[in-house]
């Protein structure tokens, strides 16, 4: 992990309210694992004061220029405009100077390739699954991706996921794209068809909770990627903690989302408390 003082390569709206940003980051890719994140400094001046955490969508190299220089390496994020920080981000252009810290945190454990893999992504949660899908396919796993959203606007990068060799299934609450309904009903069907599968999920807390309940009922291993508001991203501020399994008043267990997570094996979390503070408006000072 490193602090990059760097610049934007591109910043484009890909779906209403969703943007893709490519940022120049030499040497980033070799240290980045699926499920890790960056802390992004929106602009040099204050406010907004704090950096914002974003899941890494992918890393890669730009096509080499004809000037003979080595190809430029980038990290790419996808973000949804929700508050002040992301509103400012949406206005940024190629060449604008930004700072990012990363790659941070513990990503997905994707070494085992027993059985099939089912990835469940809700809205912006799809971001953290792209590199994971790529790695799982490269390891020879058969990967099915269930993409869920409120409407078609929340579904992005379908073709890119498919190009990795992933089977995709889309569902939306309003039926504007794919099947009408919740992504979890698709998950229930897939688990019946592939009972030995391992599940990976990233998305809003109600979705994660439902996926957790389904996986517990089906005795299916589950890894979840959490999103919490955080100040530092490196384990110093202790602002992003979640309760671990077995947490009690007398014997408390708080885990840093930034350092122990953001990806957790779901059995290590205290699901009775998770998401209780979901109404907390994230970073919208």
């Amino acid at each position: 992990m490193k602090n990059y003082r760097t610049k934007i390569i591109s910043n484009q709206e890909i779906s209403p309210g969703y943007f893709r940003m490519k940022i120049l980051a030499p040497g980033f890719g070799e240290n980045a694992h699926p499920g890790q994140f960056i802390m992004f400094r929106v602009q040099r001046s204050l406010p907004p004061l704090l950096r914002r955490p974003f899941g890494i969508f992918r890393t890669g190299f730009l096509p080499a220029d004809c000037d003979g220089l080595p190809p430029k390496e980038f990290v790419e994020i996808v973000y949804k405009v929700v508050g002040r920080g992301t509103t400012i981000m949406a206005e940024l252009h190629e060449g604008d100077r930004v700072e990012l810290l990363g790659p941070l945190g513990n990503g997905f454990d994707c070494k085992s390739c027993q059985g099939g893999k089912i990835l469940v992504g809700g809205g912006i949660g799809l971001v953290s699954l792209y590199m994971l899908a790529g790695e799982l396919v490269a390891n020879g796993c058969s990967v099915r991706l269930l993409m869920g959203g409120r409407s078609r606007d929340d579904i992005f990068a379908v073709t890119e996921f498919e190009r990795l060799g992933v089977e995709t299934y889309v569902s939306t609450d309003d039926g504007s794209l794919g099947e009408e309904g919740l992504v979890t009903q698709v998950l229930l069907r897939k688990l019946q068809k592939f009972p030995g599968a391992e599940v990976f999920a990233c998305g809003p807390m109600p979705m994660l909770r439902a996926v957790h309940d389904i996986c517990v009922a089906n005795k299916t291993p589950l890894q979840v990627s959490l999103e919490e508001s955080m100040a530092c991203g490196v384990g110093a501020c202790l602002g992003c903690v979640v309760k671990g399994a077995g947490h009690t008043e007398e014997n408390p267990s708080y885990l840093c989302t930034c350092k122990v997570g953001p990806v957790f094996k779901s059995q290590y979390l205290d699901w009775t408390s998770l998401g209780q503070d979901d109404s907390n408006c994230r970073g919208c000072a």
Binding site: M1, P48, L50, S229, M230, C237, P252
Partner: protein, 313 residues
Amino acid sequence: MKEPTKTTVKRPNLVVEIAGIQLRNPVMPASGTFGYGEEYAPFLDLEKIGAIVTKGLSLKPKAGNPTPRIAETISGMLNAIGLQNVGIDAFIKHKMPFLRTVNTPVIANFFGNTLEEYGEVARRLNDIPEIAGAELNISCPNVKQGGIVFGTDPRAASEVVTLVRKHLQKPLIVKLTPNVTDITVVARAVEEAGADAISCINTITGMSVDVHTRKPRIANRTGGLSGPAIRPIAVRMVHQVVQTVAVPVIGIGGIVRPMDALEFLIVGAKAVQVGTANFVDPTAMMTIIEGIEEFCIEEGIDDIHQLIGSLKL
């Protein structure tokens, strides 16, 4: 900086001494914003900063407050972490081995739930030779016991400092809260009780509400406000304390840029602590140290002491 100037001009002396602890420069992290040092080792050279100040330590490990614990506000942040820490024993066992390898003075911040616990932690800190000094926290606004109960009442403050002083043979810095009507009263009390230095200010109690849910934005309801938003208040209070006590004062509160640190030094702080800025930019302290050095060169100052307390009134 222009190259020719840099090679011909002598680098200013930034060394300061706080309560017998020699610092290579007056910049150190504020407790609770720098973990136990190791968290920031990937981003900056720990041997370039003046000192390392640890997260507040207690006798037993402390779990901290429920979540959400932080909320961003205009040019600041509210936090109510609740002094989560590994406890003094785990600190000695797991955190000290790394800190021993770093050639920078380590200042252990500590607190107790009771008067007795303050004394006991002080005793334990004595047994760690590599700890250069201790910073006594009597100012955390976010826990019921430990901290602010002692820091807002001059008599209670005096009592805890007297007790800790009895048990601690190392330099003792006492960290004060701004959540009082007159900070100079508490400052005088802790000086008389034996503090070797005073650091101020801790965070200012604040509150923020989510208008959609109508709930407080942090679970503890109130939290401590930090960041650039509080800097003018901090500068004012440091100025008042410097005018009141003879012991050295460490200035804290919203320092983000070099010129922010300079403000505190000019009003008379002998050193400064950088807090929230570490979250914003993990290399912030390096930028601040370099900026102080450049300022001295530009102003023809060859020793930082020429700047400290040079406020013109």
